[in-house]
Subunit: 297 residues, 2 copies
């Protein structure tokens, strides 16, 4: 792995007892996520680079959701003795490539034999002088907006779980999230009052914003355009596409609240509003479907 | 978990998408280690708090070995469904207590079900304005010194593996390393030319200093005092105690090289010297025993 790429935050990369990463802001944002085979990924559904992209994205999105810019990843990998060495190499390639999408680098790691293939990733990030955007600042009257795809990965998951491999757009969305990392610091600069990485389903994660902020949040279904491929797959599989959109995980869009009247730049979609009360409603009514996304449970 | 303890580097603790940790230096030191049940620990040999202490110590010692002061831990925990919830609580207690020994806090984490009990820990630290002490700066003529116990954990491991539970001092040394975290920044201030956390055996890890620095290093066995309990256990078990001292892991002392004539403060033991050449010798001769420590392999 190359060290000290131009513009990189990596001051000392892998090979010593620890890495050294630039934290120009004087604070560092840090988050850890773990992916376990059979629970968070399946090797027959995702290649090693896909798992690397997914593991990195899940962590990097958490950094972006604080309003920070990711700088570095550290990876703990547990591999069964039977696993081909090329699998770990493919994983590393995916992690490195996903990190590069937001200017971060893999700076360190550890590897152990284990009966269970496990990838634990820690991401670091820099706030660039801004306050972190927490989950707890949403105010009645705020608008709710979303940056990034939602429901695509869940649709791909359903397609794969029924034994299909197409539509390719949905399957690929499951294999490789397209996270809008830059939207995190952008939201912070715009004055976002709260923000979260939607990893476990929009209703569930927006519910975390509502709970932490002690407000109610309503989501409008007419805000979402259902892509043709998603609508066709939903019809073919007998699924309500809004179940994917409202309760599907793994796309990692950012959901944020902003003061009413905030002019949202391209890439942000206004999807609802904050009001006095508690919990999350859909078109002003309780949602009767599943609210969350529990991977393979 | 309490947030924002006085003097703590924790600016935002668990509960949001990511934690925020003070990095006053403008750089952050980061390292990850993973412990897998049956490979790095056994639940019949170590209680959950012991495993927490060991997992934290393994990571915090890596931060100290760069000359930095640990500030924070993040923990990814994978637990079998059959594991009692109190086990995870005990683990958290051990992690928190060990972190507190060097002024650090557990700031975040993730938990997943898994068939294999696995603890992946990431530690962060602050250099306090000093340059990181790498493995690569040892110079011919330097002295080699050690801060902290060595061989004790390996002796405890051998005792446990033969089915005994005493001497207690050795078994406890295996269960809970006593890492001299403050010795890391102390060495950096003293002008250490290279440093490493001895986690895999003195010969093996000093070998990493020799390789990275392109020098030879000689270790003098007469530098070590073999404690009575270790000598008695060695005799009873038919083991050469120097095998524990020279090749045993898990105590996490810091090994560092300093310019000749450096006056070492209390707690540092001069154990050898650096010369032109390559590799590690013991009393000027090649060591014919095992050089490393492979846990349960």
């Amino acid at each position: 792995m190359s060290r000290l790429d131009a513009g990189s935050a990596t001051l000392l990369g892998p090979g010593d007892d620890a890495a050294v990463v630039r934290a120009a802001d004087g604070r560092v944002v840090a988050s850890t996520d773990v992916l376990v085979e059979g629970r968070h990924f399946r090797r027959d559904w995702c290649g090693p680079a896909d798992v690397g992209h997914r593991a990195a994205a899940a962590n990097l999105a958490d950094i972006a959701a604080m309003g920070a810019t990711p700088t570095a990843l550290l990876v703990a990998l547990c591999v069964p003795a039977s696993l081909d060495a090329s699998w770990a190499e493919g994983l590393a390639d995916g992690l490195t490539a996903e990190a590069a999408r937001c200017g971060a680098s893999v700076v360190g790691g550890d590897m152990s034999a284990s009966p269970t293939l496990t990838v634990a990733v820690t991401a670091l990030g820099d706030l660039g002088g801004l306050d972190p955007v927490r989950r707890s600042g949403a105010q009645p009257g705020d608008l709710l907006a979303l940056a990034g795809r939602v429901g695509h990965a869940a649709a791909g998951y359903t397609v794969l779980s029924r034994g299909f491999r197409t539509p390719k757009m949905l399957v690929e969305a499951y294999r490789r999230p397209e996270v809008r990392y830059a939207a995190g610091p952008e939201a912070a600069k715009l004055g976002a009052t709260s923000m979260i990485d939607v990893s476990d389903g929009l209703l569930q994660d927006v519910g975390h914003l509502a709970a932490a902020s002690v407000v109610g949040i309503d989501i409008r279904t007419d805000a979402f355009e259902v892509p043709d491929q998603m609508r066709d797959a939903a019809t073919a599989l007998g699924v309500d596409p809004y179940q994917w959109i409202l309760a599907g995980g793994d796309d990692h869009p950012l959901a944020a609240t902003f003061p009413a009247g905030t002019r949202l730049p391209d890439g942000w979609l206004e999807i609802g509003s904050v009001h006095d009360g508690a919990g999350v409603t859909v078109d002003r009514k309780p949602w009767t479907g599943a609210v969350g996304w529990d991977h393979f449970r």
